[in-house]
Symmetry: C2
Subunit: 352 residues, 2 copies
């Protein structure tokens, strides 16, 4: 492709580099500029990824007609203002998950998306992992039968390593700690697989991190289908990424070695998907077509800018995932009593 | 050993046969008699296991001086009366888990154990699986560091196969369905590993079974240590038996192919225990010493009769496991609001 789609990262930290590597593995995206308040970071990022220019201010970036879309990887509590400014400047917007740290911010984003009619995508990349894709296929084609239970865990050691100079330390910027950072992936995955969540019971605990946020969270989700789901998230142990679904005809168990999360073109090689069938308990390795979640989502976003693709995770899907997180945190303050999603979703204009 | 300990099974169904095979793999136990109300079952059981005699009534069995101890595998709601009658007849008692289906029954059993001073053991065999034993060792010697999360699942297809002529069909005989039958194992395992549970949040659903009992249950346990635990139990999918513990220094993940549950001398061969260490994310297979949970627990019970061993799971441990089940069922009627174990345990005289 000679006429690549021109994107510009906003926020040039670790995650921006993961996404830039993903984009550069494809041939759809060209990184045409970038923005951080730090001149040093801009220079380093330009050099690392061969980006021809950078912007010294947000206004400068948004005024650049070369930039068709932005990729936002700044702290959660800054997403809203950056998304709205970018949409109002006519840029397509890709933002990292979660869409925001509060539903109030998410509502403002939703209003801006609808007012501007701009293209908007959220990086719920994990549903693109091959294990989730194959699970979805088995559910849709009936191979799993009727699903009663689904379990997910996403944990790592980050909570043990936080310092006061990182935004993730603070409860007002990263409410829920491990659950809003990691759990929100499974809140999307499980709804992708099993449909909308009706209510959530949860407990959140701050055990071994020195930061303000919880490092141990467990939530039970009741789906509108009646099935039950579980999400466990720790921030005080080595990394885990697992997803299991139990159906009347079969179970599927997915396990990803978290070490290989960032380099998503290699993740499948460090993953396993195992099935067990009813009446034939032999465990079988299930083939997983090769995926590259970060490249694929950025390619999709870029192609959607040109009208050649549809964004899979847009505003409403992202809000549904955030609503599960917020309901879990609310339930935790009520000692586990289930919190319904309907009023939360209606409050931000999403049809439950 | 020429002077084997003489035990007699009460209830001669599938589980009595699993235990009889376990006992006969060892050289401590001799099955000297057996009892079921069905003459046909008695005859078949005697022939299958080479048992010299059987009793046509419970009184006849309990009056037999050859019988040193009984092994009860009858329906949960019949445990109490059989245990009390056996203890009062001077027999040592081994009963299958759960100790009873209600805490009221468990209290009566506890009073009888204390009044008679008899030997009493409950078949919480799962903690004897090599994976649980190694986890316990890693926790005690500090290799796991501080534990924040523990997850367990025990599920199988039984709920899809129940018929009205089996006691497990009925909510009054088997309250909680999959959770009292399977979940109670993990209620014991997790307390064995992490100490007493303080409170439980749970949701129980009846989804695909035709029986009266739930076939999908999820519970979140808060331990007195502050750690969180999860137990998932399904009765409408192929079998799963898993246990994972996450600590600040390492994770351990245990997985048993449930197909090989009954033949416990082979279970280790169909199990895996994998560790991940902090700062060294390489997954490693952990050695598991060979175990045979059913043989070992019956050997221990038999040796304890002769004063040569101590029973590991007695009345109070068994009540603690049942209390987690009962708290979960109570929480489920309160839409997940956590139920404290303290009042439940105090109600049956167990110090919380």
């Amino acid at each position: 492709m000679t006429d690549k789609v021109r994107l510009a990262p906003i926020g040039l930290g670790r995650w921006a580099r993961v996404l830039a590597r993903g984009a550069q593995r494809g041939d759809v995206v060209e990184l045409t500029s970038c923005f951080s308040r730090s001149e040093e970071k801009r220079a380093a990022f330009q050099e690392e990824f061969g980006i021809p220019k950078s912007a010294a201010t947000l206004d400068e970036l948004l005024a650049d007609d070369d930039v068709e879309g932005v990729m936002i990887t700044t702290p959660n509590d800054t997403h809203r203002d950056l998304i709205i400014a970018s949409l109002e400047a006519g840029k397509a917007v890709y933002t990292d998950k979660p869409i925001a740290h509060t539903l109030e911010h998410a509502l403002d984003v939703r209003n801006a998306v609808h007012k501007t009619g701009g293209l908007f995508a959220v990086g719920h990349s994990a549903r693109r992992l091959s294990g989730a894709r194959v699970m979805k296929q088995w559910i849709e084609d009936g191979s799993l039968g009727d699903v009663s239970l689904a379990e997910a865990n996403f944990s790592n050691e980050r909570g043990l390593e936080l310092t006061t100079d990182t935004w993730r330390w603070y409860a007002d910027k990263s409410p829920g700690g491990t659950f809003i950072q990691l759990g929100v992936h499974h809140a999307d995955n499980l709804q992708y697989l099993l449909g909308p969540v009706a209510q959530v019971s949860a407990h959140a605990r701050k055990l071994y991190t020195k930061a303000e946020i919880p490092d141990a969270v467990m939530a039970i989700l009741e789906f509108e289908s009646g099935a039950l789901g579980y999400i466990g998230c720790g921030w005080a142990s080595p990394g885990i990424y697992q997803l299991r679904v139990q159906g009347t005809k079969a179970n599927l168990m997915y396990d990803l070695d978290f070490t290989h999360w960032d380099e998503s073109h290699q993740a499948d090689e460090w993953s396993s998907l195992v099935s067990q069938g009813y009446g034939d308990m032999t465990r079988r390795d299930v083939d997983m077509p090769a995926t590259d979640m970060f490249r694929e989502q950025l390619d999709e976003f870029a192609l959607a800018i040109r009208g050649a693709a549809t964004v899979e995770v847009g505003i409403d899907e992202a809000i549904r995932a955030l609503a599960v997180v917020r309901a879990a945190l609310e339930s935790s303050t009520q000692n586990g009593k289930a919190v319904e999603l309907k009023p939360l979703l209606e409050g931000v204009g999403v049809s439950p």
